[in-house]
């Protein structure tokens, strides 16, 4: 069992309306010291050990499915032998 944590975020120039709405909601609620909010996705993927090349598999999965490479970038961490 390997646990992989994947973080998907919008690329810099891409509008994220959702993060904007959350940011202004926080400011309206009185948290005026919050100057930026970014919102992305966070995956925890459990891969069975028989996998040969986990890096290339995860990259493939991210490019194909987890991230929309038109607009999003991703990074990941491999937590060997961990338990979700």
């Amino acid at each position: 069992m390997t646990l992989v944590k994947v973080y998907v975020n919008y690329k810099k120039s891409i509008l994220n309306p959702e993060a904007q709405a959350i940011h202004s909601a926080l400011n309206r609620l009185g948290y005026s010291n919050i100057s930026d909010v970014k919102l992305g996705k966070y995956f925890e993927i459990t891969v069975d050990d028989d996998s040969k090349d986990i890096d290339s598999e995860i990259n493939e999965i991210c490019d194909k499915l987890l991230a929309n490479v038109n607009m999003e970038s991703y990074r990941y961490e491999i937590v060997e032998g961990a338990n979700a």
Partner: protein, 740 residues
């Protein structure tokens, strides 16, 4: 482009930098020698690249668009503004227009589709109308591979997410599948608005000293120079264009819409003009408003433009296609009144410039003048090209002989036909659209035209989108006529008479004579049908260069028609209503198979010369149906289109799960012919005589509706025999099955 160091005027000339922005040497020469009489700088050349793109200037299509039939006594506003307007009585007008988002959707299908919906909505409410309905016309590859499925699921999800959120019902549309669209899906969205004609707004900025107000989302680096991008051809290497992705924010658009409608309804005196920021963003909206007003210039201070990102250049600010933005011209002294309205709606609005005397379009950025060009040169005086037109060799060489389908077991052919993606139920798609919000949807997706009631009035409008690119591929002129005729049949079958049409002209590269021929001929054909059906063109949109690796899509001029139902009693659907009603087919059936669904199903393509079409007969049949509905004689009406008569009959049985028992002297093959000008109607016994007297020899009695849940048709040579439920499940389950 945005990261590139800005080239100097000399470098632009010497290194031909303008080519990368979509301008030709000839066009650069015009700007330099005929307009400015000096070397344009980087910002200025950017302005022209956006404004002189096909998307903004219609430079290749203008001469063709002049051929459209646009007159009619109800037309309040024809083509030229954000959208056209037609008078429907009681001081009210319907406003409608369609927009294509093919190129953005090919690159980023979800966001391409959302921003398509967002853009057409802005066109409608900028006229002073509240959007009351949307429709989507989609063309995909034939669901053969994952790429097709990806396009379908993402594009449909995009339309659903935007339309549902903003609260405009998506009441209809049309979807067809063909390999011709595999790498170049078509995403056309039509929107209809309702307004008090007194509230009509125009996109003009007149009166020196008046304020230019920027409304809505901040400007970011999204979709920089998307207009010239949208007008460029694609090839397998289009990945590099991905910087053009824009993201739709329907929530913000809803606020912007409510704010704009509030200003239009309640602060009319303050408002001079209003326009959406669509293709080529700020430059296009401001230059068009300036040019339209005539006799004035404009000066904008780009430092005042709300910005999402740091360090944006003048070029980027002017050409960004960030969504959910509008531009208003407001009377001097009334700025605060208008700004307050937007603030109340939670919408950002700022004064960014003024209308000026003279005719210069001047931009300041960081205290310097970064562009100074004649305002008309950007918009009204953009170049126009008269392209060469040549009949494609394929049309001439095609055999006039009609395809001879193989129909040895008719029931089996029917079963197969019902499961073709183009014929199958589209419920899987439209179930993801909110079809009812605003609670005026009398007939949603699933019948011929959608019917939307006018609140508090005993009337409704019928709306449909149609085109069959296969017919146009075989004969663009006649296919163009058929597209309008089919839209007419759908509207008429629903109990309406046509008011007018909008269109999206989806074609290939106009610089190739054979593709220009398709455009030119199609428009002429459409126009001929519009005139005959008294249904003028009041708005539209052009999407050219729909090619992938040099192969063009089928010529596909989407027709969006709106009709008026002047009494809610006349609303008619395609569903058979009760057992014992008589079933007729109106119109004549021939051996018309070239371009048909059965030809494609059995050979994998369409070929041969398109079958004949008689516009006058079409008009006659449509008038008969109108009269029959007016006289209260029809219990159901359904036009015959793709798949032929047997498909229409089957579809008529589905809604109320009624059977039919029919006898015909047509052959089983002929039941798949796609002869135009036909309807399947049902009539109750008591109206039989009156109906038969009305239609004379133009209708044939086929038999009766039954409640044994069985579809049985005796043909001259064989028979169709299928449980309605089974036919229904085949038809309904086909699309979900192939999309899995």
């Amino acid at each position: 482009m945005s990261n590139q160091q800005q080239a100097t005027p000399e470098q632009i000339r010497d290194q031909k930098v303008y080519r990368g922005m979509g301008l030709t040497d000839y066009e650069y020469g015009l700007i330099k020698d005929n307009v400015l009489h000096r070397l344009p700088n980087y910002t200025e050349i950017g302005l022209y690249s956006g404004m002189w793109s096909e998307h903004c200037s219609y430079k290749n299509s203008k001469p063709v668009l002049k051929k459209f039939y646009t007159k009619g006594k109800r037309v309040v506003k024809g083509p030229g503004e954000g959208a056209g307007i037609i008078d429907i009585g009681d001081g009210q007008g319907v406003v409608f227009k369609a927009e294509s988002h093919n190129h953005p959707s090919a690159v980023e299908p979800f966001q391409g589709a959302t921003t398509g919906v967002g853009g057409i909505l802005r066109d409608i409410f900028s006229m002073g109308a509240r959007p009351i309905a949307s429709l989507d016309s989609l063309r995909f590859g034939n669901v053969k591979n994952d790429a097709d499925k990806y396009f379908i699921s993402q594009i449909v999800a995009g339309i659903s997410s935007y339309g549902n959120c903003i609260g405009v019902p998506t009441v209809g549309g049309d979807t067809a599948f063909d390999d011709a669209y595999q790498n170049n899906p078509l995403v056309n969205v039509m929107c209809v608005g309702l307004m008090n004609i007194d509230n009509m707004e125009v996109g003009a900025a007149a009166g020196a000293g008046n304020a230019i107000i920027y409304v809505g989302a901040d400007t970011g680096r999204d979709g920089i120079n998307g207009a010239s991008f949208a007008s460029a051809e694609f090839d397998s290497e289009h990945e590099s264009q991905r910087s053009a992705v824009q993201v739709g924010d329907p929530f913000n658009e809803k606020l912007v819409m409510e704010g704009c409608l509030d200003v239009i309804d309640n602060h009319k005196d303050a408002l001079v003009g209003i326009q959406d920021m669509g293709a080529a963003g700020l430059v296009s909206s401001s230059a068009e408003m300036g040019s339209k007003a005539g006799g004035n210039g404009m000066k904008l201070n780009l430092d005042l433009v709300p910005q999402r990102e740091k360090g944006m250049s003048a070029f980027e600010l002017m050409l960004s296609e960030s969504q959910e933005r509008m531009l208003l011209c407001v009377k001097a002294g009334k700025e605060d009144e208008v700004l307050k309205v937007f603030a109340d709606h939670g919408v950002n609005a700022v004064v960014i410039g003024r209308v000026t005397d003279g005719s210069d379009y001047v931009l300041e950025h960081h205290g310097k003048v970064v562009a100074n060009v004649p305002v008309d040169s950007l918009s009204a005086d953009a170049p126009v090209y008269h392209r060469e037109s040549k009949e494609p060799a394929r049309i001439d060489q095609e055999s006039p002989e009609q395809f001879d389908p193989e129909v040895s077991v008719p029931t089996e052919t029917l079963r197969k036909m019902l499961s073709q993606p183009t014929i199958a139920s589209k419920e899987n798609i439209f179930k993801t659209y909110d079809t009812q919000v605003q609670t005026n949807t009398v007939v949603g997706p699933g019948s011929d035209a959608a019917v939307v009631r006018i609140l508090h009035k005993n009337k409704a409008i019928a709306i449909t989108t149609d085109v069959n690119g296969r017919y146009l591929y075989l004969n663009p002129r006649v296919g163009g006529q058929m597209a309008v005729a089919e839209a007419g049949r759908n509207v008429v079958a629903s109990g309406a008479f046509p008011l007018g049409i909008t269109d999206c002209l989806n074609f290939g590269n106009p610089e190739k004579p054979d593709q220009f021929y398709e455009l030119d001929q199609a428009v002429m054909g459409m126009s001929e049908a519009c005139e005959k059906l008294e249904s003028p063109v009041i708005s539209g949109n052009v999407s050219l260069n729909n090619e992938f690796d040099d192969v063009a899509i089928y010529p596909s001029p989407m027709v969006g028609m709106v009709g008026l139902i002047d009494d809610l009693k006349k609303v008619t659907t395609q569903d058979l209503k009760q057992a014992n009603d008589l079933v007729y087919v109106l119109g004549k059936t021939g051996d018309d198979f070239n371009g048909s669904e059965i030809q494609r199903m059995q050979t994998g393509k369409v070929s041969g010369q398109l079958f004949n079409f008689d516009l006058d007969y079409e008009v006659k049949i449509q008038k008969l149906v109108q009269k029959a509905i007016n006289d209260g004689l029809l219990n159901s009406a359904h036009d015959v289109s793709e798949g032929g008569l047997i498909v229409s009959i089957a579809e008529s049985t589905f809604g109320n799960q009624l059977g039919v028992n029919l006898v015909s002297d047509l052959t089983a093959k002929q039941f798949f012919a796609e002869t135009q000008s036909r309807f399947v109607v049902s009539v109750s016994e008591e109206n039989r005589e009156q109906f038969e007297t009305l239609v004379g020899g133009d209708a044939s009695l086929l038999g009766r509706v039954t409640n044994d849940n069985h579809l049985f048709v005796q043909t001259a040579d064989s028979y169709f025999d299928m449980a309605v439920d089974e036919a229904y499940q085949t038809w309904k389950g086909a699309l979900p099955c192939v999309l899995k």
